[in-house]
Structures are given as structure tokens and as C-alpha cells.
């Protein structure tokens, strides 16, 4: 329980925000930060803990978003079961792609490539298939009732995404301390050695990918309900694949808080860029790409790593003094 304390404190702080400010600008910003933190946590589970760097998490995000929207618009389903089915659809896709890819033994660059290809195939299919609204996209009808999972105010949405992030934080925290988590990290560090010690590496990776996809899909479902519009470029576009990996890498790969920290920093940076340079297309992404390169070059363990270094520096026992005296003597 003590180990859960930092998570609970962070959640309590975030939960207090709507009590302090009712500003839609602040809430919109934080909703987006939390959304990226959620999808990023999904990526982090597979990429950070499992060492499988996906470049195509848009595949899961988009599947969740499209399932939510299409089931409501074309099949008249209520929003709540539509969201649940959206998460399931994303998880199922993760399991299928994971089974295909990991059974074929694809690792490293090849894994990144093939996930990218899956996302692109889905994007092209979604931009021509009639069921997704093809090039026009899908618009969810405005119906501001809680039964339809739509709200006039930003506050309920804020608490919903915060709850989802809370679930993702606790889930990853639990996995970190579980046998499954230990297997996952073992596979990341040395797959062959882990397999030699009896870990079913393929199954572990497929499991991680399924959970990872479910989290990303949950983000997609939320996106669809929050903005009420998606098209192929939004749902399956590369932007979300990049956000999903940027947040945990900037925050700290393979740490529970990495994605949340990273999302907060990256999104603040994006807003600052917009404030300074206006809404110029592409400029925020230039900054993101640059941040990605800089973080890998100078802080490969992200902000979490920097904080750990800082703490060690502050708490370091004072061993520096004896040599100082020695030089005086």
C-alpha cells in the first residue's frame, strides 16, 4: 500500500484541479495531456517494460475510436457498450497482430516496421471503406446526456479520463511487481536467456501487446466521445503513434510515471510553441522530433532518470571532504 502512495497523491492532485479552476482552456489542455498519458502508458507497457518499440500504436487507438463511433452511428448501439466493445476490439487486434508478429520472431527494427505497416494499411482501408464514412469521416450525433456518454461541461470528461489514467497507472504498477512483469523485463533484457530459463517469451510478449493495445484503444474510445468526430487521418494517422512513444520516452521509459510526466512536459512545450509562434502547421512537431532526439542523446532515461540522478546527488553521503583536507595538508 505504501508503494501506491505516490500514485494516489498524483491522482488526488489532478482530481483537485476542477475544484480550483473551471477554465475550459485548462481542462481541455489537461484532458489532452491525460489522453496522451493513457495511450503512452499503453505504449510503455509493451515498449518500456517489454522492449518492443511499436511505431504503429495508431492501429489500436484508431480501432477503439472507430468501433465506438461506427457502432453508435451505423448500428444504433448505446455509447457505453460501444466504448466497452471498442476497448475489446483494440485488445483483440493487439492479440492478433502480436500473435502474427511475435510467432514469426520479428524483433527490433522489424517489429517497428511491421507495426507501422499495419497502422498504414488500416488508415488506407478506413479512408476508402464505406462503413467508416470513407474520406468524409464519422460524426457522432450530439446528444448531451450521461446515458449517451456526452456532457455539456468538460468536468465529467476530465474525471472519466482521469479514472482511465488511474486504472492504467495502477495496472502498470501491479504488473511491475508481478511475476508477469518480471518475465516481461527479462524478455526485454535478454530474450534468449529468458527463454532458456523457461519463460515463454512469445506468450509474454503477446500478453503485453494485448494489454497495451487495450489501453491505447481506450484512449481512442475516449477521443471519439470527447470530440464526436473522427476520420482516417485522426484515428489511424501517424501523429498518435508518435505521441504514444514520445510521452514515455521523454518521461522515462519503463517507469510507472514516465508517460504522465512526459505527456505533461511535451504538451506544455507544444502549447508554449503555439503561444510563441502562433498556430503554424508543423512547428510543434518539429519541436517534438527535436525533443525526441535530444532526450535520447542526453537523457536516455527521461525525466524520471534525471530526477533519480538528482536525488542521488542531493542525498549523496558527504564523501567529498576527506580529499579536500588531503589537498590542504
Amino acid at each position: 500500500m505504501r508503494a501506491l502512495l505516490p500514485i494516489l497523491v498524483a491522482l488526488a492532485l489532478l482530481a483537485a484541479v476542477p475544484l480550483i479552476t473551471g477554465s475550459n482552456v485548462v481542462l481541455n489542455f489537461l484532458v489532452f495531456v491525460l489522453l496522451i498519458a493513457l495511450v503512452g502508458q499503453g505504449w510503455n507497457l509493451l515498449g518500456g517494460y517489454g522492449g518492443q518499440y511499436s511505431f504503429g500504436h495508431a492501429a489500436f487507438f484508431g480501432t477503439g475510436a472507430y468501433a465506438t463511433a461506427v457502432l453508435q452511428v451505423r448500428y444504433g448501439l448505446n455509447a457505453w457498450p460501444a466504448v466497452a466493445l471498442g476497448i475489446l476490439a483494440g485488445a483483440a487486434l493487439g492479440a492478433v497482430i502480436g500473435a502474427l508478429v511475435f510467432r514469426s520472431g520479428l524483433r527490433g527494427s522489424y517489429f517497428a516496421l511491421v507495426t507501422l505497416a499495419f497502422a498504414e494499411v488500416l488508415r488506407i482501408v478506413a479512408s476508402v471503406a464505406p462503413v467508416t464514412g470513407a474520406g468524409v469521416g464519422t460524426l457522432i450525433k450530439l446528444d448531451l446526456r450521461w446515458q449517451a456518454l456526452q456532457f455539456q461541461s468538460r468536468v465529467p470528461f476530465y474525471y472519466i479520463i482521469l479514472a482511465l489514467v488511474a486504472v492504467s497507472l495502477i495496472l502498470v504498477h501491479m504488473i511491475e511487481r508481478s511475476r508477469f512483469g518480471a518475465w516481461l523485463v527479462a524478455v526485454r533484457e535478454n530474450e534468449d536467456a529468458a527463454a532458456a530459463l523457461g519463460v515463454d517469451a512469445t506468450l509474454v510478449k503477446i500478453g503485453a501487446m494485448t494489454l497495451s493495445a487495450a489501453l491505447a484503444a481506450a484512449g481512442g474510445c475516449f477521443y471519439a466521445q470527447y470530440y464526436l468526430f473522427i476520420d482516417a487521418g485522426i484515428a489511424y494517422g501517424p501523429w498518435i503513434s508518435i505521441e504514444a512513444l514520445l510521452a514515455p520516452i521523454v518521461g522515462g521509459v519503463g517507469t510507472v510515471f514516465g508517460p504522465l510526466l512526459g505527456a505533461l512536459v511535451v504538451k506544455s512545450l507544444g502549447e508554449a510553441t503555439k503561444l510563441l509562434a502562433g498556430d503554424a502547421p508543423g512547428l510543434d512537431l518539429v519541436i517534438y522530433g527535436g525533443v525526441l532526439v535530444l532526450v535520447i542523446a542526453f537523457a536516455p532515461r527521461g525525466i524520471a532518470g534525471l530526477l533519480a540522478d538528482l536525488r542521488r546527488l542531493v542525498l549523496r553521503p558527504r564523501r567529498a571532504e576527506p580529499p579536500a583536507e588531503a589537498t590542504r595538508a
Partner: protein, 296 residues
């Protein structure tokens, strides 16, 4: 589909195949750069598409601002992009990656995002085309009418591949590149500057893109994401032809060009594009052993 294939007369089929070969030649050249970099550095360069786009913009503006014909611009842009690629590997990718494969992936991805969006920022999402006097000229080959720029591209790609092959086999630098590709540590012990050879290889790969861009621009358009269309095809070609194989890239490129042309003929434009991705995924899933042959 097979029935449909048999029913198509050679007067349709032969031009489709020839056009496919012409397109495939450019794919081959883009793939050549990719496979060269993979063969030596053992990394997949995710910035390849963005670098191609940058080269296409360079070729475009060399014509608009300096009045250079794209084919003449190739002689200026190729050395320029060689230096750019060299510097990128030597001063950015190499130092930033700390020698870890996963980091290199992310650094090249980050570079791709920066380059593509810097172009978007500078030139907006507009699609631009050059109007050249010979842009729509055709020559007749048997039953087929082929666009002149595409025929020039085809011939030029064969020539570039030949030059590259000669460089790799008959110059000291080429021999050093092959030595590093085969046995990095051994090459280092023999006195080869591995960081320099890595950068030279990356430069050569980027130079291929400059040539490809100059060959493409007379008959193609350019916008900030134009290169992406080619790069996943190039990945497919490289995977098909065998990672690191120059001959494989050439043959694979021509093959993919023909497949795309024929599937476009039978399935329509957008589904033809999916055909390439599906082929790519299938090749990766079904022949992974062939892919890892050299690495293990």
C-alpha cells in the same frame, strides 16, 4: 483474377509491365540507399522518406530559383546530399544513439518528424509540380508509349547501380565499407575508422535519394509527405531483395514496380497501394529467417 489476367490482351499487359519496370527503377534506387545503410550500419533508417522529400524540394527549387534542369541539378545535389548524410550520421545519429539499436530507431524517427514538419512549416501542405518542356513527351517501345522522363530514370538508375557497384568493389573506401559490413571489430583492428565509414555509407545512401529525387521530379509532384509514398515501398523492396543486398534491391524494386502496376490495373488505384503493404507484411511474417540471415 487469374482468368482476368489471361483475358487481358498483350497490348494492355506489355505497356503495364514496361511502365511498372520504369516506376520500379526509382523504387530500386530509393531502396538501394536504404539497403546500403542497413547492410553496413545494421539500422533501419526511418528518416529515409523525409530525406527523399527534402531532396525533391531541393530539386524543385533548384529549377524554380536557379533555373537548373533537374537532370543537371542531380550533379549538384548528389554531392550536397552526400555531405548532408555524412554529417547527419557523424554528428547526430551516431553520437545520439550511444550504440544502441533501439535508440537509433528513435533518433531516425525523430529526424524524420523534424525534417518532414520543417518542410511543412516552410512550404505548407501545397502540392507542387514542375512544368518542363519534355514532361509529357513519349517514345514508342513496341505497343507501349513510355514517358520520356521515366525512360531516362530507368537508364539512370541502371547506371547509378553500376557506379555504386564499381565503387564498392574497386576503391579503397568501397573495400573498407564491405569490410566494416562483414566484421566491424576486425575492420577497426585493421585500422579502419569505423565512425567515418558509417558516415560515408550514410552519405552514399542519402546521395542515392538526391539522384532519385532529380529523376522523379520531372514526372512527379512534391509536397511535405511525398517521400513517404516511396519509403514503405522501399522497405518492401529491401525486405524482398534481402537486407543489405545491392542486386536484391535492384531486382526487388523492378519486381515491386511491376506488381504495383499490374495490381493497379486489376484492382484499382487505392487497393493497389494496399497490395504493396499486404505483400510487405506477408513477406516479413512468412520469411523472417531469410531476413535475419546476415545478422545472426
Amino acid at each position: 483474377m487469374l482468368v482476368a489476367a489471361l483475358m487481358l490482351s498483350p497490348t494492355i499487359l506489355i505497356p503495364a509491365i514496361l511502365n511498372g519496370l520504369m516506376t520500379g527503377a526509382v523504387y530500386a534506387l530509393v531502396a538501394l540507399g536504404l539497403t546500403l545503410i542497413y547492410g553496413v550500419l545494421h539500422i533501419i533508417n526511418f528518416a529515409h522518406g523525409a530525406l527523399l522529400t527534402a531532396a525533391m524540394f531541393a530539386a524543385f527549387f533548384a529549377n524554380r530559383w536557379l533555373g537548373l534542369d533537374p537532370y543537371a541539378a542531380a550533379f549538384l545535389l548528389t554531392p550536397l546530399f552526400f555531405c548532408f548524410g555524412y554529417a547527419l550520421q557523424r554528428f547526430v545519429i551516431g553520437p545520439a544513439a550511444h550504440g544502441e539499436d533501439r535508440n537509433i530507431l528513435l533518433v531516425t524517427l525523430g529526424l524524420a518528424v523534424v525534417i518532414e514538419n520543417a518542410l511543412l512549416f516552410a512550404f505548407r501542405a501545397d502540392t507542387r509540380t514542375l512544368d518542363l518542356p519534355y514532361g509529357f513527351d513519349t517514345i514508342q517501345v513496341g505497343p507501349a508509349f513510355l514517358a520520356v522522363p521515366r525512360v531516362i530514370a530507368f537508364v539512370a538508375v541502371i547506371a547509378v547501380t553500376l557506379v555504386l557497384w564499381l565503387i564498392m568493389h574497386f576503391t579503397d573506401t568501397g573495400k573498407a565499407i564491405r569490410a566494416v559490413a562483414k566484421e566491424k571489430l576486425g575492420a577497426e583492428l585493421a585500422g579502419i575508422d569505423v565512425a567515418h565509414i558509417y558516415a560515408v555509407t550514410f552519405g552514399l545512401g542519402t546521395a542515392c535519394l538526391a539522384v532519385a529525387a532529380c529523376l522523379l521530379i520531372p514526372s512527379y509532384y512534391v509536397n511535405p509527405s511525398a517521400g513517404n509514398a516511396f519509403v514503405l515501398i522501399a522497405f518492401t523492396v529491401v525486405v524482398l531483395g534481402g537486407m543489405g543486398s545491392v542486386a536484391g534491391a535492384l531486382v526487388g524494386g523492378l519486381f515491386v514496380g511491376v506488381v504495383e502496376s499490374l495490381s493497379g490495373l486489376w484492382l484499382g488505384e487505392s487497393l493497389g497501394q494496399i497490395g504493396i503493404f499486404v505483400m510487405f507484411i506477408l513477406v516479413l511474417l512468412l520469411r523472417p529467417s531469410g531476413l535475419f540471415g546476415e545478422r545472426a
